[in-house]
Symmetry: C2
Subunit: 359 residues, 2 copies
């Protein structure tokens, strides 16, 4: 992803920047053609699957198998540039695994707080690191990312740990997530070196950094006259168990109201309220998009079906996006002939105990 | 697997025994027909894949996704019966993950020592347990199961930890592994309730408990007049990197000589010398079998091919067994018309960082 260095806070082509960059293979993930999917076939639209979860031959690959690596690669590189020696992050799982991985590579101390019901492979990655490296701290909390954030504020931030929580750092993670939008526009532009946006982007939205990152990328590409002002309809997909964005859209509210967290297979979506949700809502409305919630049965069935169809390592959040397609077709947010991009933010391997029976 | 209670040290049908049993779903794994495999097709033999790694619909499933659970379920149940309160095991990985899981369920203290290069998911499972539960200890050593055993002898056994190492406990693990042989004989016998053995069993052999367990099962079935004296040719598959059994067979030796450990994708086979190897050699010879070593390239290619053919979650040790088939056909250990059972001792999910590029 660092080939977009000119649009990032650090550019590997500049000697002064390059030495700070912690690059571990993140980004350059494939945009897979999934137009064979049943709803896409019936609805006559072209479906693309942006697979952030695992390495495909000839592509890069996020080292901790989720889109979180894009943001953390930039955040940790910038931390190094500014001489930060300790970082902390509250997380639903993947962001913590990612920060832990990058911080260790940069020899930065790291504290990760996550819910105690986070899937074993994610807890295991950070626990193994904490076990081997005294500079890694892991805290498990009862609750969600919200309680994790409170614990860090109480115990770690006063010790000088830099807060790397969504929207609470200077925007480095959003800069990294921009590359998701840049890659989609570049891949759809094709061999000719054009840049082209899809008609619809279906994105599983927890905190929403990815949504803001992609949107910022499109704005910058327009400023560079590589794109016009047309934007994709941006669709936020949530779990019915925890759907603050869906509620806000339905109520025409300018921000979400933090609700109680639910219980969902799509752990990354279990974010009861997000600091940047007001901005996500703006993007959704400005783009003519919407927010939609899926039931746990729909999420599980869709994850299973996608795996059976493709053998791609789909995460439940990605499965939720596929499950949203029939509703979006019915509501007119997707039309015949559209290019639709679904973002699969991670890999089922991070959720194995919970999804194994689906596969 | 506890339906074989009458042949196990504890029988769930006896009130006095039942309360000690720690049953977590182990055993009752499927015997999958893989006669479509290229060598089987070309060689005209029937190939069966005993999948110990993951749950298939309608079957049980080893809770830590390896055949080790059969042995540990019995070992921990017996420990509970005898009032043992602390257990320790040196391991190449899977046995430690398994003991950790069962001991926790039985509220028994546990110490696991394993090589520091054990795949992340295995270290992660035990590290996460050690992180959350003060009764779980994890030690990482430089070397193999041998160095792990030395560490436990020095630091944990003097503290009263019961040694659950292969062949160093009273044989409970072998009793559990017997069920592997019982299930194979029962599955091949078919619906009629007959018991039938295959002509060949191809088994990835590290320490060799499974080999002894299956053999003991066949002996007991014969004593019960459910089988005659005919036995399958027992084939030990090893990695060329660490192949003490292959060397012993070639040298006509009665026991293995502990060699330096190698470096193999099939971690479970990286056992330089096994206390019970003399008994494995006896079984191999008595059965008309052999021991065979595969190169790392062959193991990797075969694991990839098996995954591509079947989408079963094959572990490298299982891949090694499939890779052995052409050699066994050529050497006459497999003949046209034979029933051949390959044992897939675990799942690729325990080796993900090492096998992901193969899948």
């Amino acid at each position: 992803m660092w080939r977009y260095g000119a649009l990032l806070p650090l550019d590997p082509q500049l000697d002064t920047d390059a030495r700070h960059i912690v690059a571990l293979g993140e980004g350059h993930t494939p945009l897979l053609d999934y137009s064979t999917q049943a709803t896409a076939r019936a609805g006559g639209f072209r479906l693309w699957f942006k697979d952030e979860g695992r390495q495909h031959p000839g592509f890069g690959g996020n080292p901790t198998h989720s889109f979180k690596d894009r943001g953390m690669a930039v955040a940790v590189s910038m931390a190094r540039r500014f001489g930060i020696t300790a970082m902390a992050v509250p997380t639903q799982g993947n962001a913590g695994d990612s920060l832990c991985h990058y911080a260790q590579a940069a020899a930065i101390k790291v504290a990760v707080a996550m819910p105690d019901n986070t899937p074993d492979p994610i807890i295991g990655n950070v626990a193994a690191a904490a076990f081997r490296n005294p500079d890694v701290s892991l805290e498990l909390v009862s609750g969600t990312i919200r309680e994790a954030g409170l614990l860090l504020k109480e115990r770690y931030l006063p010790e000088g740990y830099f807060n790397c929580a969504t929207f609470q750092e200077p925007g480095w993670r959003i800069e990294g997530k921009k590359t998701l939008g840049l890659e989609i526009a570049e891949a759809l532009g094709g061999q000719a070196g054009e840049w082209r946006l899809p008609d619809v982007i279906v994105y599983p939205t927890g905190g929403g950094t990815g949504m803001l990152g992609m949107w910022k990328a499109f704005t910058e590409l327009e400023a560079l006259r590589l794109l016009d002002s047309k934007r994709p309809r941006m669709i936020s997909v949530q779990s019915a168990a925890t759907a603050p964005l869906v509620t806000a859209i339905a109520n025409d509210a300018s921000d979400t109201v933090a609700a109680d967290a639910g219980d969902t297979l799509a752990y990354g979506l279990n974010v009861p309220g997000g600091v940047g949700h007001f901005a996500v809502l703006e993007i959704i409305r400005q783009s003519g998009g919407t927010a939609i919630a899926l039931s746990e049965t729909e999420i599980a069935d869709s994850t299973r079906q996608t795996w059976n169809d493709t053998r791609w390592w789909v995460c439940p959040e990605g499965g939720a996006c596929i499950a949203a397609l029939p509703y979006l077709l019915e509501s007119g947010h997707i039309s015949r002939g559209d290019d639709v991009v679904v973002v699969n933010t991670g890999s089922f391997e991070k959720y194995l105990p919970q999804v194994r029976h689906l596969l």
